[in-house]
């Protein structure tokens, strides 16, 4: 399994994708980095803390105030250009489902389009192909962007995840996106109730077995909150627990709010799996 993003090629060591929201209303940070200066500071900070990728988003996932294409572009594209200038080597991802936004951010220097709404706009893959960008192929169960799951049922949620995400990836290949730039994402909580997200978590290895690099986005989500009956601000431990489980099963990209904590968990799991050497071991070896 190889993943190429921007000019960098990655193997088995898990990658940390830090969330940077240019939104006034996202569930976790509640607008903390809506302002340009705050968002730039957040990027500098997460890079220093060990993020491999930043994922810049201009529209909150949950239903809420309408953000039109023009507004989304204004929130993301100039910011991508600024981040690209400050961090030439950093892999920049943009969380969008709209091809018009994809085009603008790719022109501004984005390396990856995080299509968290599962190919709702098929032209997004064409934009990725045109610019040589990567694409995240997420599973939503076919729902419209910015909707909540309601009375969702699957014969087998993992089978559905695999079928739909792999189909999206193959469609992207057909559109001209290089295979090594594609990632699949089961999209926890998207088109899934907590039971579904937990089932996906314990069977992430089946996604890994497809050979496509797997991204998981677990951070502070409702399936963690419902599992532990905890509000948004108290889900870090639960998030880290499922992060470790997915890392152990071979998921490659971890989209996260809490960078130093997630980095430490990913590194520890990677060392345990033997895909990263211990930082420094001399005990018993002198």
């Amino acid at each position: 399994m190889r993943l190429t993003l921007g000019s960098r090629t990655f193997g088995e060591t898990p990658l940390l994708m830090a969330i940077v929201n240019r939104t006034p209303d996202s569930f976790y940070d509640r607008g903390a980095t809506f302002a340009r200066e705050e968002a730039l500071r957040r990027v500098d900070q997460v890079v220093a803390e060990g993020a491999d990728i930043v994922d810049i988003g201009g529209v909150k996932a949950a239903p809420g105030g309408d953000v039109d294409v023009r507004e989304e572009i204004e929130r993301t594209a100039p910011f991508v250009a600024e981040v690209r200038e400050r961090h030439p080597e950093l892999v920049i991802s943009v969380d969008t489902w709209r091809h018009e936004v994809g085009r603008e951010v790719c022109q501004a220097g984005a390396d990856l389009l995080n299509d968290a709404w599962g190919g709702a706009d098929p032209k997004l893959a064409e934009v990725a192909a045109e610019f040589g960008a990567g694409l995240v192929c997420a599973h939503t169960g076919g729902v419209e962007p910015r909707t909540r799951p309601h009375r969702v049922e699957y014969d087998d949620v993992v089978a559905d995840v695999i079928e739909r995400t792999v189909a999206l990836a193959e469609r992207a290949v057909a559109a001209g996106v290089p295979r090594e730039r594609l990632i699949i994402d089961p999209a926890h909580d998207f088109g899934k109730n907590t039971w579904h997200s937990l089932e996906v978590t314990r069977r992430v290895d089946e996604l890994v077995a497809t050979g496509w690099p797997v991204l998981v986005s677990l951070s502070n989500k409702d399936f963690v909150g419902e599992s532990l009956d905890l509000p948004v601000g108290e889900r870090l431990m639960g998030t880290l627990a499922v992060t470790a489980l997915c890392a152990w099963q071979g998921a490659l990209v971890f989209r996260a709010h809490n960078v130093p904590e997630t980095r430490q968990v990913l590194d520890m799991v990677a060392v345990t799996r033997g895909v990263r050497p211990p930082a420094r071991t001399v005990r018993g070896l002198a």
Partner: protein, 272 residues
């Protein structure tokens, strides 16, 4: 004919990659060890004879499988050309398939499937055919060595008389040879040392250090095997072989390194 000798330490953490990430103290030790090999070659050695403690006295083939998987299960050959961020966090970018899968063997020929002077993987090999750590450490210094080398294990418990014989045999070879002896001092130098404190350790190490620094073969030959065993001195037999091989003429000793960064006494000393 021995033209020069050197002693270097042989701890498992001196095997490339076994510390995981880089360790400053180890880098410093290995730098001195590499300088010692250079000194042997500078004296005109046309072959290198590596001598190190082993479960029993026996030679090993130059490409004998190493002990890395016994010492550090899950260990992988270090990727020297792996790119990573300056803070070392992102050692995640991958090496092209097959990179560094071939290196110089003894005499400079290509040895397929061995990295550095690393030898074959040891999977499925009987434990007695795996290179002891001491010889693997010695061999790891010989990547790119322009002359052939041989690997000789010396039983760690060999009595002095047997060491004397083995050393004298080494002297009889026709080619000008550099002797690379892999040996450590006591592992009981302090309460924090791997073997905890033995009151005799400091004095014993001092005698060993003085003998090495004065190229005093007689003093090495007088080391008491039982006292060395008690103080967890891993190098006694190898040093006595070195002393026997070198006792026929005076030598100029140079101490390149003398420290105990992890509680075990290490020396890098050349006799030229």
């Amino acid at each position: 004919m021995i033209v020069a000798a050197a002693t270097v330490p042989g701890a498992p953490l001196l095997l490339p990659g076994v510390t995981g990430g880089p360790v400053r103290e180890v880098a410093k030790t290995r730098e001195a060890m590499a300088a010692a090999v250079t000194a042997l070659l500078d004296q005109g050695a046309e072959e290198i004879v590596v001598v190190g403690g082993a479960p029993a006295t026996r030679p090993f083939p130059p490409d004998a499988p190493g002990p890395e998987q016994r010492v550090a299960p899950g260990w992988r050959r270090p990727h020297h050309d792996r790119r990573s961020a300056p803070d070392g966090r992102r050692g995640d970018e991958v090496l092209p398939e097959g990179a560094s899968s071939e290196v110089s063997g003894p005499g400079g020929e290509r040895v397929p499937g061995s990295a550095g002077a690393g030898g074959r993987d040891g999977a499925g090999v009987a434990v007695e055919d795996l290179l002891p750590v001491s010889l693997a450490v010695g061999r790891s210094l010989l990547g790119g060595c322009p002359v052939p080398w041989t690997l000789r294990g010396v039983g760690r418990d060999e009595p002095r008389d047997r060491c004397l014989e083995l050393g004298r045999e080494l002297r009889e070879g026709g080619r000008p040879a550099g002797l690379l002896v892999v040996a450590d001092g006591s592992a009981r130098r302090s309460e924090k040392a791997p073997g905890h404190l033995d009151p005799s350790a400091i004095g014993l190490d001092a005698r060993i250090g003085a003998a090495l620094a004065a190229a005093d073969a007689g003093a090495l030959l007088r080391l008491d095997p039982a006292a060395c065993e008690r103080a967890l001195v891993a190098g006694r037999a190898a040093w006595q072989v070195m002393a026997a091989a070198c006792e026929d003429r005076p030598w100029q000793a140079q101490v390149l390194y003398e420290e105990d960064p992890f509680g075990v006494a290490y020396w890098v000393v050349t006799w030229t």
